[in-house]
């Protein structure tokens, strides 16, 4: 699988938010999008997912322009994990996850036993089987985020798009969710996600895109997450520190400075 964005511009009816964006994401890559609030990360996602039309340029999946694809066809290729929120009705967790099968079902059908099996596998992969019969609106925010990831996995997409999957999560859950996403990408799914923390990119990304007022740049974490780039992007001073983990492997961390 290869997702390619070619010289695309994104925006809403009256204004263009992003211009001339190009990048590629292949299977097994974890692509992390960093950038300040309001720079257009969500707009970019909405365009890839077909919620809003691309203004110039094109988005292709395995070389085919996805602009005219039907919703079910697109959903079979690209899974979306939104930020966890509460729906108005108390669905069970299994109900929510089974909705991931919707794109694979006929217009008039509902999930079969096979679909339930696929949903249960997703629950097991994420080690959240115990949530299966609980009420989705009553579980914690971290659990809801995991359920949404399970739902996207149940969709069996080639590409997963996650919009700030760690927002609203406590420190431990942020890391747990990120490691789970990394595992999915190691298993061969292409992943595109946004984050507000450069450290999240250090933890799991294979590729980083930096989106700021100077433009759009794609590279490795080493190339792009530098003290200068962080100052340019977020307007704060940071120090990139190197520490060795328990196995002597170097890991890097981005630490904000008070002065």
């Amino acid at each position: 699988m290869i997702l390619e964005i070619k010289d695309a511009s994104f925006g809403y009816s009256k204004r263009t938010v992003l211009r001339d964006i190009s990048f590629k994401v292949a299977s097994g890559e974890l692509f992390c999008l960093l950038g300040p609030n309001g720079v257009g990360k969500t707009t970019l996602f909405k365009s890839i997912l077909g919620f809003i039309d691309v203004r110039g340029g094109e988005i292709t999946l395995n070389g085919e322009n996805i602009r005219k694809w039907s919703k079910p066809r697109l959903a079979k290729a690209i899974g979306y994990v939104p930020q966890a929120h509460t729906p108005p009705f108390p669905y069970t967790v299994l109900d929510v996850i089974l909705m991931g099968r919707m794109a694979h079902l006929g217009l008039f059908s509902s999930p079969s036993k096979d679909d339930v099996k696929i949903a249960e596998e997703s629950l097991e992969t994420l080690s959240i089987s115990f949530l299966k019969n609980m009420i989705y609106t009553e579980i914690s925010g971290g659990e809801r985020q995991m359920v949404l990831i399970a739902r996207a996995m149940t969709q069996k997409p080639q590409l997963l798009i996650l919009d700030e999957p760690t927002s609203n999560l406590d420190y431990g859950n942020q890391v747990r969710v990120l490691l789970q996403i990394k595992k999915l990408s190691d298993e061969g799914i292409g992943v595109v996600m946004t984050s507000h923390f450069p450290n999240h990119a250090f933890l799991c990304s294979s590729k980083v895109a930096l989106l700021n007022k100077n433009g759009f740049e794609v590279g490795t974490t080493d190339e792009l997450i530098t003290e200068r780039n962080m100052r340019d992007t977020y307007g704060i001073n940071v120090k990139i520190a190197k520490v060795a983990d328990n196995h002597g492997v170097n890991i890097r961390s981005c630490v904000p400075l008070a002065n």
Partner: protein
């Protein structure tokens, strides 16, 4: 990950110890549907045995049996007339209106992601009321009134839809649709008031007022087609597409990402729910509460998954309105208008459901 107990694995949210969510029993939703169907049949048969010209159950079954096989009649002509011209049409219409109002209520609640929505949200009831009032002013026949009410109900919703499409091109189309529906509703309510104001207070005004209060007193075999046909056209797509409607509870974009063509689904559901609502109001008057309360009750019994919840609403709604109509024609010497009974019974029942429900909406 290590194999630990379920409670160890629970992911806690930002340090606040959440209440342990209740682990619900796996619902036997299919069984509940069968029970509801049996309840509906019982209420249906019982309805014949009450009221004036009550037909006892054995005689009723004999009539059905002999009619089915074309055997000679063993019952009086009065029984024949009452049963086939008055009782059966009225019972069937009550069933259809209850089922239609509940189905469109359930559909609209899912469509607009809001459990407070009732079938008149887009102006169908107010439009139908206005159509009926106009037809009464012009001394139309019962059938003309029904037809005028039906058409004006449809026109009101079309107006809502077109206006909201014009002003809400970009985003938040659902909110704009609902707000436009409120505007159109109150506009048509004003038209109804205007019609009442200009009506002759000796005959037309009371006729309009009685019509608006709702009731099935004047239902005969003639009225059935004008509700049966829209009911069939409306209910079939609503039932067939019901699983897809679940996705809309998560919002427009998430539903699209799940592979649902939200624009198409929403359009089909609005058309079908409007057919159901407009034909019901045109036949039985402005009967409130059913479309709001019954979906809540259904959700409480079988859960929010529309695969079970919509059929449950249809069965419950039919049985409920039939029961209310039985009460309306038997408990008092004068028939009580349906809208009064549905409100008097529906309001406290709704409060009970709210009190019994979870913090999140039932």
């Amino acid at each position: 990950m290590s194999l630990s107990t379920a409670s160890d694995k629970r992911i806690k949210n930002s340090g606040v110890a959440a209440d342990a969510p209740s682990k619900v029993k796996v619902r036997k939703s299919g069984l509940v549907l069968v029970i509801l169907f049996i309840v509906l049949i019982v209420v249906f048969l019982w309805s014949f045995t009450v009221g004036r010209f009550a037909v006892p159950l054995p005689e009723l079954l004999t009539v059905f049996f002999r009619k089915m096989f074309g055997l000679p009649t063993t019952w009086s002509d009065t029984t024949e007339t009452v049963l086939f011209n008055i009782r059966i049409p009225r019972i069937i219409v009550a069933l259809i209106i209850g089922a239609a109002m509940s189905a469109s209520g359930a559909a609209y609640q899912g469509l607009f992601r809001n459990p407070m929505v009732s079938p008149d949200i887009l102006g169908a009831s107010a439009g139908a009321g206005f159509g009926a009032a106009m037809a009464i002013l012009m001394s139309g026949s019962a059938l003309t009134i029904q037809l005028a009410a039906f058409s004006c109900g449809i026109i009101a919703v079309m107006l809502t839809y077109l206006v909201s499409c014009l002003i809400g091109k970009t985003n938040n189309s659902v909110l704009i649709l609902v707000l436009t529906g409120m505007v159109v509703s109150s506009l048509f309510s004003a038209f109804i008031s205007l019609a009442k104001y200009t009506a002759d207070p000796n005959n037309k005004l009371p006729e309009i007022a009685y019509w608006l209060m709702g009731g099935l007193t004047s239902i005969t075999a003639k009225n059935i087609m004008l509700i049966l046909v829209p009911f069939m056209i409306g209910i079939i797509p609503i039932l067939l597409l019901r699983y897809k409607l679940n996705a809309l509870a998560f919002g427009e974009e998430e539903a699209q990402a799940l592979g649902v063509d939200t624009k198409k689904i929403r359009f089909i559901y609005i058309i079908c729910a409007t057919l159901l609502t407009a034909s019901s109001v045109a036949t039985g008057g402005m009967i409130g509460w059913v479309g709001l309360v019954i979906p809540h009750l259904a959700r409480m019994l079988v859960g929010p998954n529309l695969k079970f919840m919509l059929p449950a609403s249809v069965l419950l709604g039919g049985a409920y309105l039939l029961l209310i109509d039985d009460i309306s024609r038997t408990f008092f010497t004068v028939e009580i208008p349906l809208s009064i009974l549905t409100a008097i019974i529906g309001a406290p029942f709704f409060i009970y459901l709210l009190a019994k429900g979870r913090n999140s909406w039932t």
